[in-house]
Amino acid sequence: MSLTQPVGSDHQLARLLQIGIVLEEVVEARAAKHAEETDASLDPALRDLLDHAAAESADHRRRLEGLVADLEAETVPFEEIQMLVEAQYEADEDFDGVLYDQLCNEETAYKFYDDLIASIEASDTAFGVDRERLLDVLRTIREEEADGVEEVTDLMEERQ
């Protein structure tokens, strides 16, 4: 259970969108690292999943960056997060470990956007970005995260 706390200002909204960007960057960087470190070339389904996850996260990031720019806030450079991911990355994950990590990524992102949408809907603040556009972008991304959870679980079930 999480409490729906209304987003109270442009500053707080920009901060939450920055966190969304970082989460997407973590997914993108970890997916790329998994592909590099595991023997993904032997399993086309896993390689496709990782490629798709990285591309989708890059796309989500760009859409969030558009909103952050409208709020006149700064984004978080991908290279910076990539370096942090590399510094903390543990390379001993097997196929199941990689799939599980991807599942956590997608579920976490879904939960984040779901809470963020609820917090925006609960707020009566007039933001510096069009509310409908903001919610439209976030709902679309949330939908794609839900699809992502399904894709990973399908692959997990196939391999059981």
Binding site: S2, V22, E107, K111
Partner: protein, 144 residues
């Protein structure tokens, strides 16, 4: 983090500072809520078996309450450290408080994959300074 977690964290920190039960007044002050609101929530947490409340003595967390409070404190530490290390936010204490109600523990776990948190977390949290004691130390070292 939800309201329950924020209360448990505040009670845990107050008990640590007092080295005993926490008074309703201190809890209300820490959370910036009215004593009546604090009392209401304390009653709910008691019903859930997370604390014992004795009139005129104060509030004592149960083992389950302590566990949940420590998890909440750890989430808070992750948010603070993330704001400092990744987003370089100067007023990270204020922002962490605004964000702890919005950032879920699953999200905090992901943010934790890119920060340098010490294994003894959350024991290194300095309640008076409202920040991880080790993070403060690092800031002092880097400013030398």
């Amino acid at each position: 983090m939800n309201t329950q977690a924020q209360y448990l964290k505040a009670i845990y920190l107050t008990q640590e500072q007092e080295d005993g039960p926490a008074s309703t007044g201190d809890i209300a002050e820490l959370l910036d809520v009215s004593p009546a609101s604090a009392n209401e929530m304390i009653g709910k947490l008691e019903d859930r078996g997370l604390l014992d409340h004795e009139k005129y003595k104060g509030v004592d967390l149960t083992d389950e309450g302590i566990q949940q409070a420590r998890d909440a404190l750890q989430n808070y530490c992750i948010i603070e450290r993330f704001l400092v290390e990744v987003l370089e936010v100067e007023d990270f204490r204020t922002e962490a408080k605004q964000l702890e109600g919005v950032i879920d523990e699953t999200v905090a776990e992901r943010l934790d994959t890119i920060i340098d948190r010490e294994p003894q977390c959350p024991d290194c949290f300095n309640a008076e300074e409202d920040v991880c004691g080790l993070l403060e130390l690092e800031a002092e070292v880097s400013s030398d």
